[in-house]
Symmetry: C2
Subunit: 238 residues, 2 copies
C-alpha cells in the first residue's frame, strides 16, 4: 500500500510516519519508483505498536527506539530482550526528578526501603538481579509513603505481591503461548504497558464500587435521619 | 517554623512553596510580623501530600488544586469527595490525545469495548455510575489492545478483575480504619496513586522473575549444548 493508505488505516499522519522512518523506528517502505514507496502489513503492525507504546505506554520516542532495537536484535537472548523492554517501562519517577532532596535523612529512609524490598524478594523467592530497576522503583515508592506520613500503607505489600503473582500468571498464559521471540517480546511489552492500564482502570472501578457500598448508603441514612424523615428508601441494611 | 525551615524539612524550594500558596494549594502561613510568617505541622503534611501527588502521582498543579479543594470542602459527601479525588487519578489517555482517529471503524471497536466493560461490571455486581471515567479508561485500553492486534490479551480480564478486587480489599483495610473524612480521603488518594506505583513495580519484579525461570535456564542449557560442554550447571530440570 501507499503511505497515504497506511496513514488512513492507522490514523497516524503522513509526516509522523516519515518522522518514525527517519528516527529508525519504522523500516522504510520498498521503493517502487524513485519517489514512491510501498508498505506492507508488517509496517502497519509496527506502526500500531509504536502508537500503543507512545499513547498508552507513555514512552518517549528514544525509549521506543531502544525497545524496538532490542526486539529486532537477533543476538539478544529472550531474557535480555524482555529485560530491556520491560526495564524501560518501569515508572520514570524511579530515576528521581526531585528539585532537591529533603534533608531529614532521606538516604536512611531509602536505604531502609531498599532493605525491605530485598527481604520481600527473598521471602518470595523471586530471582531478581541487584541492578533491576524494579527494586529501585519499589524502594522509591515505599520511601515516598514514609515521606508523606503513610508508611503504614506498606503493610499491604504482601497482599499486593500476591496479586502481582496472580497477574503474572495470567500474563504468562498470554505471553508464553507465542513461540517466536519477536511475537513473544511484543506480547510482553503490550502485556506490561496495557496490563498496567488495565489493572489501573479496574482498581478505579473496584474503588468506586467499594466507596458506594461503604459510604453512599450510610450517608443517605444520615441525611434521612437529619431531616427527621421516615425510613430512608436508599438506606441499605448494614 | 519559618518558611526556610519548612523548605529544609520537605526539600521543596522556598519559591516553590510560595507558588503553592499563591495557587491556593497550601494555606498561607500565620503572619507574626508584616513580613514574617510561621508554618506548622499541617503545612508540612500538606506540602508532602502535594509533592507525592505531583512527583509520584504525576498530577498537574491544577488537578491537585481540585483534589485538595474537594478534601477541604465540608459540604461534599465522603463518596463524592472520594469520587473527585480518584476520578482525577484515572490515566489521562482516557481523555484521548490522538492526533487523528484511525478510520477503520474505531467507533465500532470502542463501542464493542464499552459493552464488554458494561458486561464485566454487571457480571461482577459492581455499583458503577454510567459516567464513571473508569469505564472509559478500561474501554479505551481494550480498544487499544484490539487496535494493536492483541485483542486476545483481553482474555485476562476476569483474572485481572479478581486481582483488582483483592487489591481493593487490602486498600480498604488501610483506608477505612481512619474515621475522620480528611484523613480518609488523603488515604484514598495516597492508596490510589502510590498503590498504582506499588503494583506496577511489583508486576515488573514478578515479570523479571518469571522471565528468568522460563528463558534463562533454557538458554544456559542451549548455550552449554552449543559449546559441546558437559551438564550445564545452570540448566534447571524442566
Amino acid at each position: 500500500m501507499r503511505i497515504g493508505e497506511l496513514s488512513r488505516r492507522t490514523g497516524v499522519p503522513v509526516p509522523t510516519i516519515k518522522y518514525y522512518v527517519r528516527e529508525g523506528l519504522l523500516p522504510a517502505g520498498l521503493l517502487t519508483s524513485p519517489n514512491q514507496a510501498t508498505y506492507g502489513e508488517a509496517h502497519e503492525r509496527r506502526l500500531r505498536l509504536i502508537r500503543a507504546l507512545l499513547d498508552v505506554g507513555g514512552l518517549k520516542v528514544a525509549a521506543i527506539g531502544e525497545v524496538l532495537a532490542a526486539v529486532d536484535d537477533p543476538d539478544k537472548s529472550v531474557h535480555k530482550v524482555l529485560g530491556v523492554a520491560t526495564d524501560l517501562l518501569v515508572p520514570r519517577y524511579a530515576e528521581g526528578e526531585q528539585d532537591a532532596a529533603p534533608d531529614d535523612a532521606p538516604d536512611a529512609v531509602l536505604e531502609a526501603a531498599r532493605e525491605r524490598v530485598g527481604e520481600l524478594i527473598e521471602r518470595r523467592g523471586w530471582r531478581i538481579g541487584d541492578d533491576c530497576p524494579g527494586r529501585k522503583a519499589l524502594a522509591v515508592t515505599l520511601a515516598t509513603l514514609e515521606g508523606v506520613g503513610h508508611g503504614e500503607f506498606a503493610e499491604v505489600l504482601d497482599a499486593y505481591a500476591d496479586a502481582a503473582e496472580s497477574l503474572a500468571l495470567a500474563d504468562l498464559d498470554y505471553v508464553a503461548t507465542r513461540k517466536g521471540r519477536d511475537g513473544l517480546v511484543e506480547r510482553a511489552v503490550i502485556g506490561t504497558v496495557l496490563g498496567n492500564a488495565l489493572i489501573s482502570a479496574l482498581r478505579h472501578l473496584t474503588h468506586v464500587d467499594r466507596s458506594a457500598r461503604l459510604y453512599e448508603s450510610g450517608e443517605l441514612h444520615r441525611d434521612a435521619s437529619a431531616a427527621g424523615a421516615g425510613p430512608g428508601a436508599g438506606a441499605a441494611p448494614e
